[in-house]
Subunit: 341 residues, 2 copies
């Protein structure tokens, strides 16, 4: 049985989305057991509302937690002080080996701080990385890491990110011989800033399928399975992409409702627009794993719906456990250390 602690109070649609997502997950996979951590009466209310819809919930449990860590809370402070919060209690369940993984759609900073403070880092890994999948126009999406866990990494940290990203892409996302790239300002090896210049040669000797520099122009092409960068850069890229998507679809809406003819045309294109938007649906992968900590942690987007939460469990946690990904991280990182010597 794979046991998951799910933060029932995290995210814009809590507790509804986590509760529904949990029920969908245990329906899809028999070997999943979920502890919904949060305010008991609210969770029960959601459960009773949904159970009338004939859900099976033998593998759903409730762990009461009275406090909530909000998006405005200071991450480290919240983890230290809000001991009865859903997130801290979920992390404690993992620390005490009551569960194999924690999933949350709540405060990202607190999620990462909680993971580091409660679980610590994996052996041999000096810096953690948050690793979401960026969508691809034509392909399966690209794991980008780091997007904000480590602001000022050193070249050897980027190497660790590349190794973990590669293992993750293979064992969780099912990519064969993942193609790993380094975000840079040009394709040639000597390009970039101090960090990318020094990282390039380390990546060349790492136990991965390193395919060289990636120009940001090609980042969403689907030509790479894994792309590494410093956390500051990844975070900015992620938000820039979100901003462009939101702005562009908003502008399209304005344009397409400007007059009757346009409205009619837009109505005829409705299924196509839906198909277009679905290519950028972050609910598909369910969330971003927080890699390098001593436990399986998956951070879902704040606006995750129940499908995202379900996918975080059945498409991420499930494969993490079954394919012993944390053990594989340590093994591959050790191989990387050996190639350095």
């Amino acid at each position: 049985m794979i046991r998951v602690a799910l933060d029932a109070m995290g995210g814009d649609h809590a507790p509804k989305a986590p509760v529904k997502g949990a029920l969908l997950a245990v329906q899809e996979l028999q070997e999943i057991s979920i502890s919904l951590v949060g305010q008991k009466e609210l969770i029960e209310q959601e459960l009773s509302r949904i159970k009338s819809e004939d859900f099976d919930d033998d593998n759903i449990h409730i762990v009461d937690a009275r406090e909530i860590i909000s998006g405005e809370d200071n991450p480290t402070q919240a983890i230290r002080e809000k001991k009865d919060s859903s997130l801290v209690k979920a992390m404690n369940l993992l620390k005490d080996n009551q569960v194999e993984a924690v999933v949350s759609a709540g405060n990202t900073g607190a999620f990462m701080a909680g993971g580091l403070l409660k679980l610590g880092r994996l052996a041999n890994i000096k810096r953690p990385a948050l690793a979401p999948v960026f969508p691809a126009f034509d392909g399966n999406g690209t794991v980008v890491l780091d997007v904000g866990a480590t602001m000022d990494p050193k070249p050897e940290h980027l190497k660790d990110f590349a190794i973990m990203g590669s293992v993750y892409a293979e064992k969780v996302l099912g990519r064969e011989r993942p193609r790993v790239g380094l975000i840079n300002v040009g394709e040639e090896a000597g390009k970039g800033n101090q960090l990318t210049k020094e990282s390039y040669s380390l990546l060349e000797t790492a136990p991965i399928n390193f395919c060289g520099n990636v120009e940001a122009r090609e980042l969403l092409s689907g030509d790479f399975d894994v792309v590494v960068c410093e956390g500051f850069m990844g975070n900015v890229l992620l938000k820039f992409m979100e901003g462009i998507g939101k702005g562009l679809f908003g502008t399209m809406k304005d344009e397409f409702t400007a007059d009757f003819k346009s409205k009619l045309g837009a109505w005829m294109l409705k299924p196509r627009m839906k198909s277009l938007k679905s290519r950028f649906d972050y609910n598909e992968y369910g969330g971003a794993p927080f890699l390098g900590v001593n436990g399986i942690l998956v951070k879902s987007h704040g606006s995750s719906n129940e499908t995202a939460i379900k996918n975080a469990i059945v498409r991420q946690v499930y494969h993490f456990v079954n394919n012993e990904v944390l053990t594989a991280f340590s093994q591959e990182i050790e191989k990387g250390v050996e190639t350095d010597e």
Copy 2:
């Protein structure tokens, strides 16, 4: 008379776009005189083709240059070795005070290397910056600098970028009290990497209207006139934006031609799609100034058409000269130095 040296051989549409752009510029502004630098016979051929269309060219001159610096050339090497190239000859005209400015749509790296090697830096400015205008969904666009001239800047360099960007936005783009921001991973002052943390307080005391951190999500919102970042970041963002635009419009084309109904809908939306695309038209501003060097240098996009070239001259060079922007840079930078003491 404002004299401009125009690289007639640079860009995807050379020499046609530069020659046509030059003629459009001298038609629009009487006080402009242009030296078309490049292979004489090719320029004459283009001129004679267009002159039949009744263009006036009293203020157009040809400066013969036999060599061409291509996109594949190594920048510094090309400037040193291709002494008879259109770009080097144009830079020499500026160095010798034969012209007030150089405009080119050719190799960006060579353009920057040429500027630095031939003209040197402005007094008090330690690092140069390339400063294109990013489009805005709702507004006038935002000057982003640096996008690739200085890969690893120090905080004091970002401060110089902010001052130059602000002066440029005011005196060339006509913005009042330009709102200047710092690209960062959060809005609060303490956020970010080492560079942004240290730069924040310097920007607060600089002689500019500093409005704090900008999250990349808001970068295209038009809420800021000037945004500063390290060259590595700016270059990646610029290319990422280009890649998303290209990928998205390509994907839309695929979707919108999937069946008859969609094709009909797309046909009805054609004027709207055109209006949508025009918001991202980099030809509007004509090019990105290369700031911090001792001369007026404007780099047009490689795929610039004649309108872009014309705009680089009438919307950029013209205001640079008339509003004595280089002098203003030095004055404002000096003010910035005083506030530090």
